[in-house]
């Protein structure tokens, strides 16, 4: 992968730019926030944008700009935890199933099917209800729903790579399966995993907001995007501004991840057909 080629890919550049901006805003939230994130002003609810409040205020008169950049921290943290864990679980399951085949493959793939078959919303709501809302628990709900996709893609890739000459050679030389899996196969399967993970970050952010919309998100006053949008939708009839701004924030961020994922796909593997992510 040469740099100039990557830079010529518009999706990649725009996606990376959006993602980087959001990540920087999240990291420097304490410095950039103009108001206290929990500072209410009930006499100034649903205010429009002004010099005082860049994006206006929410249903408690809190500064929306400050809430959204602090919210970026929370939402990104949940999304990253969820995706990293899903990738780890899915990759291990996929590698093992694809490499060993036979009954190992059969059992693992049937388990994957079961998790894929139970409606995602039932799984996620049940898990949050059981464990109670919290960053790790919401992330866990997203992991349980998301890991299957990685498992299936990694397994498919492993099935192909397993037959490659260099893997066969390593096997003939008596290398241990763990060595073959992690030293020979995994590095070559990384491309699709990275692409999928980047799209998965967007999916996770949308899923977190959907949980909040259904009342299963993080408890207030944590400034998550999901809660801000969920509140916004309650007032959409008379005060559409709140839901438009918070919805647009989510949309732009997810757009960033999706563009990044598409760009990476083109750069890493130009021949593979595009297949987009985005569940809700």
């Amino acid at each position: 992968m040469q740099l100039p080629k990557a830079l010529r890919n518009t999706s990649l550049v725009v996606g990376a730019a959006i993602t980087l901006t959001i990540v920087l805003l999240a990291i420097f939230a304490p410095a950039i926030a103009t108001h206290g994130v929990e500072q209410m002003d009930m006499r100034n609810r649903f205010a429009g944008p002004s010099f005082q409040h860049l994006l206006g205020t929410d249903n408690f008169g809190r500064d929306l700009w400050s809430r959204l950049i602090w919210g970026a921290r929370v939402s990104l943290t949940i999304a990253i935890i969820a995706v990293v864990c899903s990738v780890i679980i899915g990759t291990i399951v996929g590698l093992v199933a694809g490499y060993f085949g036979g009954w190992v493959d059969l059992v693992l793939m049937r388990i994957t099917d079961i998790f894929l078959g139970v409606p995602a919303i039932v799984l996620a709501l049940a898990i949050v209800a059981i464990l109670g809302p919290g960053v790790m628990n919401v992330a866990l709900a997203l992991i349980v729903v998301a890991w299957t996709e990685y498992a299936r893609v990694v397994r498919a890739t492993t099935l192909v790579l397993r037959e490659q000459n260099y893997v066969q050679a390593a096997r003939a030389l008596g290398a241990r399966p763990s060595r073959i899996l992690f030293k020979e196969i995994l590095p070559n399967a990384l491309g699709p995993i990275i692409v999928l993970a980047s799209l998965g970050l967007g999916t996770a952010i949308i899923a977190e907001s959907a949980l909040s919309f259904l009342g299963f998100g993080l408890p207030p006053p944590t400034p998550t995007w999901g809660w801000t949008l969920a509140y916004g939708t309650k007032f959409i009839r008379d005060e559409p501004w709140l839901s438009i701004i918070s919805g647009a924030t989510i949309m732009i961020t997810v757009l960033g991840f999706n563009l990044l994922g598409d760009g990476l796909r083109d750069v890493l593997d130009p021949r593979q057909l595009s297949r987009g992510g985005g569940k809700s």
């Binding site: 009930m42 408690f60 109670g132 207030p220 006053p221 509140y231 007032f235 009839r237 008379d238």
Partner: protein, 513 residues
């Protein structure tokens, strides 16, 4: 899956909507009412949601009818007497008939109440009839209720619809095919979508002036308001979103009834929690609740700031009984007296090296409660109380948390408080079935027992006011607001409108009191 009948009626509605654009479908004496949930059952003994109650009130008739002023008046019963405080004898009207034409006798009344009282029948309202020992038929027209102890509120609960013993025992599923003796009868029921009723000419007062009532289920409050504005509905009522109320009230196409409701929104303090065991602590924390802002800004003035456990809609109400009011300095002062001081200047009060931490909890289904909780959390925090908000869905919150006494402060509500007894007896008597916070006060126990055992309303008023005064400073509950009841209707309705705080519909079909 759909009956022919329902298909026809839906088509009729479609025609009405499309032939005239946006006007209400009331040409042929029909009434379309928006409702928030589908009925779970149409068996009056098992009804537990507002829609089931409202439909049951039309399909069935009870011994008594409760007027908008919450007074019991004769319905199926022509008259009654109480030879002693533990006996009620009801005389039925002559010639009563169910909507299927069969006669209604004392046997049906006995059947209704004896099944309701059977623990295995699991009626949600069985607890209201706990003191009832036996219900017997004296003759075909006369029913006797015998009580284990005097029980004043009984009459206000005897509006339960009387069901047909014959229909029930012949194996007919009362919950989906109801047979009652009320002003209307079931025409069709499309689960999750609508319930249609038609006039019952066999009702003892004669057929109502409206031929057909349809209840349309629209779960989302704002969507229901929009359907009403578009003319698809003739009537909508609480629960409504505060924002929608403000807008609809300003629209002169619509009539508007607003009255004190029968519910409260309150904070449940867990008196068993070591931190909250001292009434002074509960007083201090109550002083941190900004009722004005919650009621006026979050509920936008639909509800009213509450001052005590007796509702303004009740005969026992007194404006002189007062809970603590919002006063941050006063609260902090009281907390300081209790030993909570900010010794390490971190903005949070502490005692013996431990910060003052408290958990506020509510359920996620009601956005107004969630907002009220989030607002209170911020005020607590500013006053130096480290407050955590905990929000879960209703089943987790109610059955696994508050009802197990695992909470510290919980925000929730009570409905249908037609008698002061219903908000106090089970809640505050020592070991009472819904005394989740474990509150106990011998004097309150005595007063509340006295309140249910005398039929003298003046005496009862005095007793409940005394109890409410003690409770307003003991504070097992801090009542935030008295819920308001709100109804909007199209001004061109064919009948006069008489609303009730329970949202019952007899006053909309020409059966005013």
């Amino acid at each position: 899956m759909k009956t022919l009948l329902s298909t026809v009626s839906a088509v009729g509605l479609a025609l009405a909507v499309f032939s005239g654009g946006s006007f209400s479908a009331q040409a042929a004496g029909t009434l379309v009412v928006g409702t928030d949930v589908d009925a779970g059952t149409l068996d009056p003994r098992l009804a537990r949601d507002s829609t089931a109650y409202r439909v049951a009130d039309l399909v069935y008739a009870g011994l008594v009818h409760i007027t908008p002023k919450l007074e019991p008046v004769p319905d199926l019963a022509e008259s009654w007497e109480t030879p002693d405080p533990q006996t009620f004898i009801f005389k039925l009207r002559p010639g009563l008939k169910f909507s299927d034409g069969s006669p209604l006798t004392a046997d049906d009344v006995v059947f209704t109440y004896s099944t309701l009282l059977n623990p295995d029948f699991s009626s949600p309202i069985r607890a209201l009839f706990t003191p009832v020992k036996a219900v017997t038929a004296v003759d075909a027209q006369t029913v006797k209720f015998e009580l284990a102890a005097p029980y004043a509120p009984l009459l206000t609960y005897l509006d339960v619809g009387i069901i047909s013993k014959k229909a029930a025992e012949s194996g007919q599923d009362i919950s989906t095919k109801p047979v009652g003796a009320g002003p209307m009868k079931l025409a069709s029921w499309n689960r999750g979508s609508d319930i249609t009723l038609e006039a019952n000419p066999d009702y003892w007062r004669g057929a109502p002036s409206i031929d057909k009532v349809t209840l349309k289920v629209i779960g989302d409050n704002s969507a229901r308001a929009q359907a009403f504005e578009a003319g698809d509905l003739d009537v909508i009522q609480s629960p409504l979103s505060p924002q929608d109320i403000t807008r609809l009230a300003g629209d002169d196409r619509f009539g508007n009834v607003k009255m004190a409701g029968l519910g409260v929104t309150y904070l449940n303090f867990n008196a068993k929690d070591p931190l909250l065991a001292d009434p002074k602590m509960r007083q201090a924390l109550s002083m941190l609740v900004d009722q004005q802002t919650i009621v006026n800004d979050i509920y936008q003035g639909v509800d009213q700031v509450a001052s005590s456990l007796i509702l303004p809609s009740s005969w026992a109400y007194s404006a002189d009984i007062k809970q603590p009011t919002f006063n941050v300095e006063g609260a902090v002062k009281l907390l300081n007296e209790l030993g909570w001081k900010d010794t390490n200047s971190d903005g949070i009060l502490d005692k013996d090296g431990k910060p003052l931490t408290i958990t506020l909890a509510t359920h996620s289904e009601d956005p107004n409660r969630v907002q009220a909780l989030e607002f209170m959390q911020a005020v607590f925090q500013q006053a130096g109380v480290e407050a955590k908000a905990q929000i879960s869905d209703w089943p987790s919150f109610s059955t696994n948390y508050v009802q197990q006494g695992k909470h510290q402060i919980a925000l929730l509500g009570w409905l249908n408080i037609v008698d002061p007894d219903r908000l106090m007896y089970a809640q505050f008597t020592t070991g009472g079935p819904t005394n989740w916070g474990g509150y106990s006060n011998a004097e309150v126990d005595t007063l509340l027992n006295e309140g249910r055992s005398t039929l003298d309303q003046a005496k009862r008023t005095e007793v409940y006011q005394k109890a409410a005064t003690i409770l307003a400073s003991d504070l097992p509950y801090f009542v935030i607001s008295d819920q308001g009841y709100q109804m909007f209707y199209q001004k061109d309705l064919p009948t006069e409108v008489q609303a009730t705080p329970r949202g019952y519909l007899r006053g909309l079909i020409g059966l005013n009191d």
